[in-house]
Every structure is written in C-alpha cells, then in structure tokens.
Amino acid sequence: MTPPSREPHPDSRPNPRPEVVAGAATGASAGAGAPGDERRPWRRRHLLDVASLSREEIEFLFETARSFREVSTRSVKKVPALRGRVVVNLFYEPSTRTRISFTLAAQRLSADVVDFNGETSSVKKGETLLDTARNIIAMGVDTVVLRHPAPGAPQFLSERVQACVINAGDGAHAHPTQGLLDLFTVIDKLGSVENKRIAIVGDIRHSRVARSDMWAFLRFGAKVVLVGPPTLVPSSLRDIGVDVSYSLDEVLPEVDVLCLLRIQSERQEQGLFPSLEEYSRLFGLNSERMRRARPDVLVLHPGPINRGIEITPEVADGPRSAILEQVTNGLAVRMAALYLTAGGDA
C-alpha cells in the first residue's frame, strides 16, 4: 500500500518565499534553511483533536481549506490530488452529515471511499475495533475516518495501524474537524476572533463539539464562556481558561458569537434537566433573545437542529445564522485535513 516511490518533480520550483509566515516570528524557523525549502508547518499523519494543534498548523490548514473552497465552485468539482488513495469511513455511531461531508471531501480529491457502518456489521459479531481496522487496512486503505463512542479510540488506532487516522468524533472527547470548521467560519465572517467573546451554549458535559470549539477559539485568542444548566456545564473547565455561566440572558448582550449545541432528549430521561420545554425557555435562542443580543451577533449550530428547542426557525433561518456556511466550510476543512494528513511524516 505504500505508493511507488517516484522521482521528485523535475519542474518543482521551490520558490524562495518572500511572504512572511503569519505569526511565525520565532526567528529560528522563519527564513532559516536553504532558499529552496518549502514552508511546511503541517507534518502530522493523524488529526486526533484540536487541543494539540498549534496556531500555525491551524492557519496552514485554513489556508489550504480556502483554496479547496474554490474547487467546489468549479463545474468539475474535483481535483486529482489523492487519486489512487482509499479512504474508509469507519463509523461506530450514527451520523449522516459528517459522513457525507467526509465522503464528498474525499471524492473531490479523487480518493476512493468505502463506508463501514460499525452498527450493522461484524462488530455485532464481537469483532474488536483493532481487528476490524486491521482487516480493513489489509485491503489497502490509506486513511481511516473514525467515529467511535469511546474517547481516545482514534489515538489508540493511530498508534497501531499504518494508515492516517482522522477523528470524526470520539465520545465526549473531541470532534476536531467540527471545531476547526466553526473557527474557520467565525474568522471568515468576523476577520478574527482575537478578544471576541464567544458563548458555547447547551450540553457542554456530553459535547465533543464544545470541547473542540473551546480549544480552537482559545488558541486564536477568543474569550470563551460556556453556558448551560449547572448539571450540563462542568465548572472544572474554568481551569483551562474559560468562563462558565448558568444564564444565557446574562451573557447574551455582550457576546459576538453564539455557538449552540444540539440537545439530546435522552439527557432529559437521565434527569439532567427537567424538560425540553424548560431548557428551551432558559437556553433556547428565539427572536426575543436576538433583540437583546448584539445586532451583529453570529449564530452557529453544528446540526442537526432541533427546531424549537435550542433554536427557533426564525433565528436558524435568519440573517445572523451561519449554519449553512458551516456546512460548506466543513467540506473545505475536511478536504484540507484529508490532503494534509496524506502528506504527513511517516
């Protein structure tokens, strides 16, 4: 499965790069090395979480994603960059949009895509994650996109198989492509998140999206406040430098961005909040609350939306909502993740 080694491209003209690497004022890396050296801030073969990414890595991934956004505007929405490579979506939890987004991203790079649904397959017969993955990789897979209920499953796999591993959500730990696409969308709309106040609202405790968002926004200098009922917002998260609030109405007037999370009704059955109605009354975003928010507030939601619970239809479809842009940007960010990890250090 290792591609045949080829001669370096004879036409490669590794230009001396006069442009300054954004933010890389560390001296040692900027300008060092032979003039022929290409700037190469991304060396990872796996994308496991946001917390371990440097700002420079994220900026490079975004730069790549912006170029990939252009591909999606062409009449032929496809480039041959990953032709001949195989990507498997190994999903142990239900997902429609993340899986479709990864599938389209891989297809736009000309990779072949296989879907493996862990809920309806040999897993039911008792096969372990590692055995399943080894079997799939023995078929010549280059990249595994893994969604798994166990936090750390992607890391576990990345240490044991040859393929690149991209975490598409592991328990309540991380959902890095979602965190990255949310940051990408906010930077795209606001220019920067430096010193912006960003509220993440909802079930923080069980949300991998909240964790990846939090790390992404913090890395770029935003002020993050986590908002939700006390049963769903672990106050221990204050230790990593975020604020915690149990009242949306209190933080509402001063935030630049509202990231809403999906409420899962089974949490109600577990007694973590009294009822969906009460949640909606205290934390749901509606037109009345939007009037008390900043007029230029940006509203994000990772989908799928529970219309009428965490957000009302007028707000979801309103002018401040960036929900559909998140979807479009998600595709570009996932293309960048697939492309850059494929070129990472072995």
Partner: protein, 190 residues
C-alpha cells in the same frame, strides 16, 4: 549552492520585450482573424508562481498599446502534480481562478520556464476541468529543451541549455526585486 547570472536585468528586459511582442501579435492577430470569420475570443492564463506575473504584464502591455482588455486567469497546479507521495512535503495550495468562460475560448497559456513538460501536462488537465477551450497555445519565456513528455511550446522567449542538476529561474521585479535569469546549482541533489 551558487547562482550564476545568465541574463542580467537589461538583457532580461530586452528578451521579455521581444517575447511579449510576439505573444501580443499572436492574440491580437485574433482580431483580424475574427473579422475573417475565424477564431473566437482570447484569454490569457498564467501558471502560478511566475507565469501569472508574466500573464499580467502581457495583459497590461496589450492594453497600453491600445489593444483589447483580455480576460485572464491563474492556475495553481499543485493538486494536479503527478508526484504526490506521503513522503513529499505538500506545497501550499492556492486557489486557481479563471475569470472567463473557457468553453470555446482561445487560451494563451503562459509560464516562465519549460523544463520537462510536466507542469504543462498538469495545467492542461486542470484547464479541462474548467471547460473545453477551442484551442490552447503555449508561450514559455525560457525553454530548457529537456522534455519528458510530447508537449512543446508554441512560443519561446529564449532557449537556455544548462545541465540537469541546475535550476534555471526567471526572477521578476514584482516578486524578487529585479528582472533577471539565473542558474542555481543544486548541490547534493536533494
């Protein structure tokens, strides 16, 4: 690593002038031919990173001479290269932009240095993803006469024959501070 200047600023400027003159005649000849019921519109497409600068200069020159404002485009062929391997560093990917409808158009494809032909092979593949040009004409400023594919330029500014282990580079004022052509010996053959 040592740089040898092959053409200094004055020589490069004279050669560029001649090159642009030839290309301008090619695409403006299009006007007369169109009246005769011949070719359709022309657009100029440059290949990133210096072909696009040449395309831009050519565009200005044609306009300064009272010619038409020809539409332009930039191709970044990174994603179309034939040498992507996991072991190879990924160059920065930049967007490709073609501001005109290339279906049925005459495309003048411009690049700085023609070496093996692989860049042009990639550019032609990419152009095909944007549409179906009526014809593509290739203008390269420097032809190193070392092809690995059956692809030949239609217009050449100057032929430079140097050993394979040297990199021939066109430097342009916009990017490099001045116009000149240099050969760079790549020691150790990275």
């Amino acid at each position: 690593m040592s740089d040898t200047i092959i053409f200094n600023a004055a020589e490069t400027s004279r050669l560029l002038d001649k090159f642009f003159h030839e290309l301008a005649a090619r695409v403006r000849g299009g006007d007369a031919a169109r009246h005769a019921g011949g070719e359709g519109p022309w657009g100029i497409v440059g290949i990133h990173r210096r072909g696009d600068l040449l395309a831009e200069r050519l565009q200005h020159r044609i306009r300064d001479e009272g010619g038409p404002a020809l539409p332009s485009g930039v191709l970044d062929i990174t994603l179309y290269r034939d040498d992507f391997t996991p072991a190879r560093p990924q160059p920065t990917v930049r967007p490709s932009q073609i501001e005109f409808d290339i279906d049925g158009a005459n495309v003048l494809l411009v690049d700085d240095v023609f070496f093996t032909g692989r860049t042009i092979r990639a550019a032609l593949t990419q152009l095909a993803d944007f549409g179906r040009p009526r014809r593509v004409v290739l203008g390269v400023f420097i032809d190193r006469k070392m092809r690995e594919l059956p692809i030949h330029p239609d217009h050449v500014g100057v032929v430079v024959e140097r050993p394979r282990n040297e990199r021939v580079q066109l430097r342009l004022a916009e990017l490099d501070g001045r116009d000149e052509v240099v050969a760079i010996r790549e020691d150790g053959g990275r």
